[in-house]
Symmetry: C2
DNA sequence: GTCTATAGCGGGATAGAC
DNA sequence: GTCTATCCCGCTATAGAC
């Protein structure tokens, strides 16, 4: 009779197993939390999806909240990493806007489920999102560059008069992010092709940039 | 000794109580479903909030799903009722867009929680939303009017060339609806004043209209 | 119609053997 | 580290007394 042999491996094998299980849990948690939100995802589901014993999930991550926070943090990291030096190299309002739309859209294409995920949880804790954005150095630098370039070019008469620069930024973000929040819906409307969504979002970059170019150029 | 007297009223009183309880349940259900979504709202919470025995909720509404469907339907009705004849009276692209932004924004101001609510549940069942929009007669008529006016004015050279009219409509909807989906966030950013949000959203109507006027006029 | 009580399930978390 | 078994809780829904 052969007995269960699972705990007979070397120390090295155990460590490897540890890493594998941890990341398997993370992967399943990400998938399920993003899909169904915090409230509609159970630890049992996560364990099953990760092919791991339920007790292991609590062993590695202490609680459901802890695990969720890791996934939520990760989502922000993924988006933030998209905003790099390129974003800060704009020398005019139009350049700033063009760079932003480019970076933001490509970030969303790489993480299409992130906005929906973040907004799903926004109602419970809006402050988490705000503090995250405030912490981001790139976001701060971009804001400063964006608003001061608007100020400057308005005085020079290069662009139209903008009464509410924050509103302008909100409008740009709206156009970029909205289709991703409503992705399941937009996909249905566009058609069944899988790659179609990405293609459409990529094409939108030009359109959105064009809209704001036209708007700003009217004096 | 005075006994409990609750079931001693006349038939008329009972009917009144029935209506009161029913609507109390509906009101609490709306509040909680909209706030927390289907998964994170319990029948116990609803009953407690409505000051009604738990069994009564099932007695009147059979199941949680049934109750939720009523609230979801209601949300669509509220938005749809906003799109009336005014919306269909546009004789040009600009008029159509102006009317749409006006109607849609005012509808959202009256039901600010609706977009967040609908989007919260979109991931589970996008088809529900699509079939609802397709059913709406006003929406269909507006679409036809909108697209044919674009076609006409493009040929006449009155507006710029629009390669993707659906995308244009998506952009308009994006700008109008996005701040409402992120309302808790936007409110924090704008400031603590309660009426400030509505004021800001109302002011945006002019800005958004202006953006598309500028965009369309560039040949 | 109204309530209490409870069936029956699934949730998060942990104790304790190995 | 790993697993089983279990605690204790809250959930939806309903049976059944009044």
């Amino acid at each position: 009779m052969e007995l269960k042999n699972k705990s007979k491996g070397s120390v090295l094998e155990k460590q490897k197993a540890k890493v594998d299980k941890k990341s398997a849990i993370i992967n399943s948690a990400r998938k399920l939390f993003v899909q169904n939100g915090f409230g509609c995802t159970s630890m049992r589901e996560i364990a099953k999806d990760a092919n791991v014993n339920l007790a292991m999930v609590n062993y590695y991550f202490k609680s459901k909240e802890t695990l969720f926070d890791i996934i939520y943090d990760e989502a922000f990291e993924n988006m933030a990493s998209q905003f790099d030096v390129k974003l800060l190299s704009g020398n005019s309002v139009i350049e700033n806007i063009t760079n932003f739309i480019e970076s933001y859209t490509e970030g969303l294409i790489k993480n299409p489920e992130v906005p929906g995920f973040i907004f799903q949880e926004i109602y419970k804790n809006p402050d988490v999102v705000i503090s995250r954005v405030k912490k981001s150095e790139v976001a701060q630098k971009f804001r400063n560059s964006f608003f001061s370039s608007i100020d400057k070019e308005m005085k020079e008469g290069k662009i139209r008069n903008i009464e509410n620069p924050v509103g302008l930024l909100l409008n740009i973000v709206s156009m970029c992010a909205f289709p991703f929040i409503g992705k399941p819906l937009v996909e249905k409307v566009i058609g069944s092709e899988k790659s179609e969504f990405t293609k459409t979002m990529r094409a939108r970059k030009k359109d959105i940039t064009e809209i704001f170019k036209a708007y700003l150029s009217v004096k």
